[in-house]
Amino acid sequence: MEVPVGGGSDATRVSSYNPWVSMYWMTVGKTVGGLQLYNESRLSRETALELYTRGSAWFSQEQAKKGDIRTGMFADLVVLDRDYFNIDDEDIKKIEADLTIVDGKIVYANGDFSSFSPPHIPILPDWSPTNIYNGYPTRSNLQSAIEKNSKATAKPSLTSQIHSCSGSCDVHAHSHDVARMSNVPVNNYNAFWGALGCSCFAF
């Protein structure tokens, strides 16, 4: 018998709660900053997933009740927005659910399944950061949060107070956020911005 091992995050005060960042870490061996810390001890994707499902169930002595999709077990499952087993390493960090079921009930639905979504609960208090940013940012929701905020506060110049340009760069006519969020090699970041001549990051 091997030692039981469960996957986890220790969120929220050091790590993020996003399990797919952990899954990326376990299977690719890189930190969120891209440092390759492990290579030989990288886990297979199936094993990483198993630690985070069946493995964790042992830790509350519920291994017979949950952790797998099998007859008699709790109806807890997740439909992913992309195929964990057939995507590039870097895309593992971007995985989200499109449908999450707990105890046979739909608790979360998005994308193609959004018609099944439970009713929205207003976020309180109304000034909560959750109201604007709505949790862990993806490229698309970070962008929409920025737009939502500029509408909500009627201060479209807010971003430009911080960056020297907002929206599209007036001087260089490139779309600032598209350029900024593009996947440039981090080592060359300054060179990249130098090449575009946009000093938004100089701040």
Binding site: E2, V3, V5, G6, G7, G8, S9, D10, A11, R13, V14, S15, S16, Y17, P19, W25, M26, T31, V32, G33, L37, Y38, Y52, T53, R54, S56, S60, K66, T71, M73, F74, A75, V78, V79, L80, F85, I95, E96, A97, L99, T100, I101, V102, G104, Y108, D112, F113, I121, P125, W127, S128, G135, Y136, L142, I162, R180, Y189, C200, F201, F203
Partner: protein, 414 residues
């Protein structure tokens, strides 16, 4: 038997070798009643069955985070600006500025972990000057890992830190040449200074804590989390700070299954805490959505080896063994499962000495127990854990501070 819900046309991943190529499941009363191919499973359909086409998507079992602070995180979620996954410091500071502008007095803006400067394109943390310029009036508290908090002047005023404020043991308040606090507070390596400062901030009302917890669970559902094991936490008192989660369970509004461990809050009086809980809490009390799961991750404060890789590894005090033995003996006598925060192999060796000694007198005999984190555990100690029937809960903490670990201990140690 007829299903309440059928999902078909999916690529369903099961660990059960007897059911490869699963495409459909039937569900009734919260359990799977059939797992197989579309035609087998469709036999469970009735007129009232809800049927969903999975459009050939990948489906996996619900994700279970075996070490998270959901209950505490939920009480605060709507108060916290999260930098998790934000690609640049410029974005992070812009979000901070926007949140400062909309936050009413006397509330704070707080960023409580979940980020590392290595995720930022600029690869640095914000400076005190930057946050003071962004927020001259609104208190701002930014927690970085377990190592420091960056506070603006308004936050220093709010918590009342002055020239004369002493730092607690294992903590440091950085001071300028006049002896005034600069706004930087550092764990050296005890994170208590960070958490006790954070705990001085305003909290949400009970009604808003209910709302906040529901949104935090929804956020976890967004990533496919369906179960967690809650590891308690500093300043997370039982039963007072569990009222919210208890009420949500009674109203059937939990969307994540929670098993919770009880974390002592009383240094030097941990034994009394556990004695009291063993009297008042029935092991595993609750139901399949919300269930007690034993003791930990804090059992005795003298055994806490803080995982701050910016600081040297702490040597645990000499009285640790005696204090830990007293508490673990109580737990084993009462057959309470327990978990213990353990970062370094050196501490793990000492913890195992204690456990093995107790096991000689009162056999663990299959009692489940857990080491949490165990970042540097060696083969020998893994074998000892195995022999005592323990488990190891691993986390992605290193993904956020691996750069610091490598700086201190070298790539070979990692």
């Amino acid at each position: 038997m007829k299903a309440d819900l059928i999902l078909f046309n999916g690529k369903i991943h099961s660990f059960n070798a007897e059911t490869p190529n699963v495409t459909a499941v039937a569900i009734k009363d919260g359990k799977f009643i059939a797992v197989g191919n579309d035609s087998n499973v469709m036999e469970f359909a009735a007129e009232e069955t809800k049927i969903i086409d999975l459009q050939n998507r990948r489906v996996v079992p619900g994700i279970n985070d075996s070490h998270i602070h959901l209950i505490r995180g939920g009480l605060n979620y709507n108060l916290e600006l999260r930098w998790d996954g934000v690609p640049s410091l410029a974005d992070a500071l812009r979000m901070l500025k926007e949140q400062v502008d909309r936050t009413p007095n006397p509330q704070w803006v707080r960023v409580v972990g979940g980020w590392s400067e290595f995720q930022f394109a600029e690869r640095r943390m914000p400076t005190l000057e930057e946050i003071n310029a962004i927020a001259p009036e609104t208190p701002v508290f930014i927690l970085h890992l377990y190592d420091r908090a960056i506070m603006n002047r308004a936050a220093l005023r709010a918590v009342g830190y002055t020239k004369n404020t002493p730092a607690p043991p294992g903590g440091q308040i950085e001071r300028d040449s006049n002896g005034e606090p600069t706004g930087l507070i550092i764990a050296t390596p005890n994170a208590m200074i960070l958490y006790s400062t954070l705990a001085k901030g305003p909290t949400l009302s009970y009604e808003h804590q209910i709302n906040s917890t529901r949104h935090f669970m929804k956020e976890l559902n967004r990533f496919g989390i369906t179960s967690v094991i809650d590891a308690g936490g500093g300043f997370q008192n039982f039963p007072d700070d569990y009222k919210v989660v208890n009420e949500l369970n009674e109203k059937k509004q939990l969307t994540v299954r929670i098993a919770y461990n009880l974390f002592t809050q009383k240094p030097k009086h941990e034994f009394e805490d556990f004695e009291d809980w063993i009297d008042t809490v029935k092991l595993h009390q609750g139901d399949d959505m919300y269930r007690h799961n034993g003791a930990g991750e804090m059992l005795v404060f003298s055994a806490a080896d803080f995982e701050d890789f910016l600081q040297p590894r702490p040597d645990l005090p000499e009285n640790m063994e005696a204090e830990l033995e007293k508490v673990v003996r109580l737990l084993v006598e009462n057959r309470w499962p327990f978990r213990l925060h353990a970062t370094y192999n050196e501490s793990i060796t000492r913890f195992l000495n204690v456990f093995e000694k107790i096991n000689q007198e009162i056999p663990f005999n299959g009692l489940p127990w857990i080491f949490d984190h165990a970042e540097t555990i060696d083969e020998r100690n893994i074998e000892r854990v195995k022999n005592l029937g323990g488990g190891i809960a691993v986390q992605s903490r290193m993904a956020y501070q691996g750069e610091y670990f490598t700086d201190r201990y070298g790539a070979k140690a990692a």
